[in-house]
Symmetry: D3
């Protein structure tokens, strides 16, 4: 019964600008115990190769999530009525030590997973998805729905560095965390390092849907294919805010023009209800580069869209 679940502060009673800013104005809890879904911040951008700032993402996404209300106007889902959701705070990270941080993130997510809660994480740069996958996969090879301007399957940067926000999915495939044949990348665009940059990923079986194909086919057709590829096995959803156009999401480290509209992004996420989601994230919101907080607002809203989908699945399974 919903009355047992955590409820957000009601904006018709307490104004949105009042009170502590937590994800969706939910209570803060210490552990994921008894939660169905754990909203968690991962304020770390140590894998960023160009413009850092995503470390400040969780705080601003929390701030803008004050604008979210309790029900989804299209699906009618009221996530806080059908699932127990709370803000479990930020994972401990280390801004000056990459490996230490990857370890902390993995441990933090594992603690959530071990409580049988589904983690919805807010980054942080895209390298955080690697330790999340290490924790969530639990020996299984997961599928991946990946919204992004970039494939993030490069090999090395700055000499022999294997771990940056440009490499997480190559590493995840190599580590056996993901089944490359069940990876769909959508929205890929922008100039690339060399013509064959994506050849490795394609050779593994990754399905790359470039922005141009998306524009031709539309969200519905593309998502039908994506869902078919993913099937009904456990799948992770990762949403890089730079998949959205820089006009709607300027506050990110590596913007590429010609991106998704927020409308298209919302439409696609709403079509994920049949995917077996075991975790999700919104990454690369970098407030120091944002203007008027529109990027954090987009991030908070995409988090709400993901939350509604996952909450619906939790309810269906109950």
């Amino acid at each position: 019964m919903s009355s047992q679940f955590h409820q957000p502060v009601d904006a018709a009673k307490v104004p949105r600008f009042a009170g502590h800013s937590t994800f969706m104005r939910l209570p803060v809890v210490d552990t994921a115990k008894d939660l169905d879904i754990a909203l968690v911040g991962i304020p770390w951008d140590g894998g960023t190769t160009n413009r850092a700032g995503a470390r400040h993402g969780p705080r601003e996404v929390r701030n803008q999530s004050s604008l979210m209300r309790r029900a989804h106007h299209v699906t009618g889902i009221q996530p806080f009525s059908v699932a127990n959701v709370a803000d479990v705070g930020d994972l401990t990270v280390n801004p000056i030590d990459l490996q230490d941080s990857l370890k902390s993130i993995e441990d933090g997510i594992r603690a959530i997973v071990e409580e049988a809660a589904i983690p919805l994480a807010v980054g942080g740069d895209h390298l955080i998805t690697l330790p999340i996958l290490r924790a969530v996969s639990s020996g299984r090879k997961l599928g991946l729905i990946h919204f992004d301007a970039h494939s993030d399957t490069n090999d090395r940067y700055f000499g022999d560095n294997l771990y940056t926000h440009g490499t997480p999915f190559r590493r995840a495939i190599e580590e056996g965390l993901l089944d490359p044949k069940r990876i769909v990348q959508i929205g890929i665009r922008g100039s690339i390092y060399e013509t064959g940059e994506h050849d490795w990923a394609k050779a593994q079986g990754v399905r790359i849907i470039y922005m141009e194909e998306f524009v031709r086919r539309g969200a519905e057709d593309v998502m039908k294919e994506a869902v078919r590829i993913i099937g009904d096995m456990p799948t992770y959803v990762t949403f890089d805010i730079d998949s959205i156009d820089p006009s709607m999401a300027p506050g990110t480290g590596t913007p590429e023009i010609g991106g998704f509209s927020t409308r298209e992004a919302q439409q696609m996420v709403r079509l994920l209800s049949d995917v077996n989601i075991v975790g999700a994230d919104v990454v690369e919101v970098a407030p120091p580069f944002d203007v008027g907080n529109v990027t954090a607002l987009a991030g908070a809203t995409m988090l709400f869209e993901l939350l509604c989908i996952v909450a619906g699945q939790v309810a269906a399974r109950r």
Copy 2:
């Protein structure tokens, strides 16, 4: 004859950055006497439940309206040649007294209406439309074309408060100012307080066209239906700038991603020529949250679009 009408300062003679910033660079007049259309500012945001700032809207919309020229490039209408238009200044408002302000606004608009001029108002938050409707309705039940992200038909906020920018159209229906069966709301979207939030409005007969339906059908089809519902009886047009996407209109109190493009908004307003418009407004432009003045520019241009439509009707009636 146009030579009798007020004319804007010509930007090919006096640069746009020079001179006092009035609506459309028109002369300022004291009353609506002899005017066909009165451009009027209502700098008040006392009904705002979250982020105030729309009180500064009229000044910045005036500022950005310096960019408007004399003719509409699609319809060819030259509003200042076919109608007498001027800037009648701002209505007196009281930033710390809600009821006093509602009274002042109603009186101010009534003075315009009594001169047989059509008021085109720039807000201010959306609660200003309630006293405008009180003045414009003159005992008639008006139709309403309502562009917005929000239905604004809630009942109460913060206890038993009846008057906020989330309630004007519920009050207007209750007060008999609007015929709910001739209300069309377009662009509604974003999370809602509860799944049944819009049930009251729908039960009254209000036609809510959610953003998702709009995207599916397109502007032309939607507006055809809207115009059919409205018919040829007197109708008010209210344009909440938050109907437009936050990337194009970030400077507003309650942004919701996934909104209209300005293109779509322009297209819809241009399809209003057969509606019997007795007044219109552009509301919720909140400059303190704007970036690069794009919201005020969008507001000024939508005001120009509305002006061209109304001026065309004035000319047709002459």
Copy 3:
């Protein structure tokens, strides 16, 4: 013993950008029970006559207070070691009802005072100090150290409105909450409504130290006089951020050039250790008008300076 007291999160362990942003990174508690000092937000600006925005003050001051550490570098005071301090959250306010809000604020502060905790409030506009004084005075006439660009002793605005952020201290004197002969206003400057604007206050015995006198005499000399005037009876300290120069505190509703430097402001507050402080506030931080968060940073630091002074007094009394 300090180990019993609430401690802030340590920035050498958890980075400043991580974790929920509470005042000074302290724990959030529900009541002031067992506290010596209660940090409380009052996000309300319904008394603002020009540019609203101070409703967003508490959230941003909390945010910037992440930069505070545990010890004062000049006095050596470690406030969290000698006093029990926590963030008691925001008082409930009503953005569209002035009298309702004044009542709520008074009740909220009274609840703190009744727990024998000293309230350190963050506004909000300056009208919030009136209900705070109603709660804190408890029948006594308090003294007042008042840092401000404006005397805030006007009588009425917009007709007969008695309650705005330009009138709180006139009302407080009239209501017998303050002893006008023990009021010192420091930093007053800027154009005034009429030459005799301050005559009423002076006639009551208020000591107004204009900015020009301050510049001539310096902080030490001025504060010596202020402390002498105030004596050892219970006194409230109110710090309007617009007392500081707009270059250092642009994010405020009514900026006046020629203000205090932050250095001077810090120096003055540090000279308050012999004043018997029963409550204090930092008001008029208006983030929508801030640039680079410097105003919120100044507000957070002045809050820390006040906290150190009050904590020192708590320790001395223990």
Copy 4:
């Protein structure tokens, strides 16, 4: 009698954000007829060698001048009670033709002077002072009080161009508009083109008070000397906003750190009461480079300070 004079809109009746933004919220008049003092905008920056934008200065200074009230808190002067002052609008300028603009500005100011009104101009870049001096000098060699970071007595730029905002006072001396022995430049600082850059000016008799000398001696001592040098003959006062420190006036084309505080600037202007002022200006406010409008606010306040001084002289002469 003051009742005959133009009065600003009263902010205790009409909020500062309401109404058209004119200088000091004064009425707009067509000519300087019957005025003692004419506030005039000169939105032109065609002499700018680096960052243009001062063309937008008059509009933003008008905007920020809404914050001015009717009386000076130090001198007690109520300028609108003792002198007839109004906003005469902007002079016509041509953004793409330098000589045409110089001519227009001269003509526009001459029209003011011929009505026996004293022009207080808001630029525009510093080259506008040259045509102003041509109009105001009327055959006399004027004295000049010149607040600036730069001497503006260079000879040529970009080949043989004689007219830029770096050359006006060299030209004015050459044209016999100024008596170089009665020119005092205060606040000069910043790197220079070559070590001897100021030699020409000094050879003419110009007294240059570098910032370092100002800091050593203080405002009072420096102004005593300045007033002595100027004597009681007709004098023009020009205030380049870049004389103020970039922290307080970032919105300008050629910022130089280490400038005046606004306090010091106010103090100096207040010491001009014995100077025989025949005209004055505030120049180089460039809103596109401003942050939080602090520069325009500083410009508006310095204009008010100048206005109070000149109004006091008008009253004294009456």
Copy 5:
């Protein structure tokens, strides 16, 4: 062979924020000798009738072009492998002398053309295209693909001034530099000075595709017509950034809502591969009005798109 050509700094070796910011991180060279394509800045906005600032365009476009990589993700073209490209620096301009600047620009471009290199210029306001055409036409009448919100075929401004950024293509037609029957203008929109403003251009044979026609037909259909009209004779491509919507390109002097998305702009430029391009430019990027550098990013990316097309043609001709 590509090894002989200039190569950009590799962002996987040297981070994008490091090193001097040149166009595409290419080497700076003194002349266009041995180049196939010369990237050249023209930092001049002396033809601007309203908001100047495009003089700062080249520097910021260079800055943002650090985000470009070496290959085009759709066409696979690696421009630096198939053509010799470099940054030849900025042409010398004179911010205070229009005719002098037009002459310098023409001379500068002629020097590039005489080395048989194709100039890709970054402005600067749109008047720079006139002297570029003078240099590039070399006696031929060129075709023109013109992306813009404005036709820029007005006759005069501010009296009899023939040369502004609103007139270059009228002058170019009059001077015989362009064949008006081979001019296609795409994206034209926004209010106009009078209903017949475009009649002159249309009478010359210019094909104006208004935004509304573009929206109806789509990029592919429109570009098919454009390419057919242009034929295979030498053609210049000019891309005014204000053709793009102000949400994606706010940093420009004369924004008009309802513009191209960047996606549409990219799609159109990619369809130019069969046009015989002899030069191109990206103009009207005005950084002082930009927010979050999105306009400069859009400009840099459109430059990259143009570069890839032209490089492909260079390779095909080799």
Copy 6:
């Protein structure tokens, strides 16, 4: 003879906004060979514990250094006439590997030192000074003039991490690079981790001049002591931009109110002419947090001030 030396582009010939932005508009050279002074960028902020962004410092400082001219207005020094100075570009750094970067920076500076040039570096966060000192010390124990809000002599962060921007001078003392008895830290202020935070440094003999002592004594007196302590042995000068007040330098990672004015900072640097300077830096300029580029301008000007001092010493030694 100066004619042999590199000269900056002349702003009276080429406007400041034109041309590539290099330090002081000087030529870019590949090595420090034949240079007296090498201006070098170190775009790295991997030691930052809170707000990163100083990696973008060199680019923006270069940009703002376009405003510098060739002569110092107080000392008359023309640095480019008496010393050979150039921009040697940025050192290669690795944004995701701390130790790799420390190594690269040390190597890069050593290459400069080995050419007998004096490095003037622009950071980057303050940890870069550690590898610079490793290269510059060459076995000697250097003296240190250290302008900063923070002592930067902490021991560890985030567990056992020895290398952050809060620890460089502890490490440098431990490594024997600095003689602690010849270290003077000026401007220290702001809350500290614990009351004894500076005890270690003081025990080593470091002289800490807190801001409050500076305010009491003034720049001249303080610098006299500093110069006396340092003596005539080789000394390094490090200028952390956060020593300056956040109103004048908001763009930095760890702002503390109550800082130096730029005037005071300039005055102090000008008093260094008798110090035997073997290298210097300006660090912690973080453009993503800057407003209106005032911090980068302050950084560029302080770099110019240091350059003039060092150039004067070079000339004196010649």
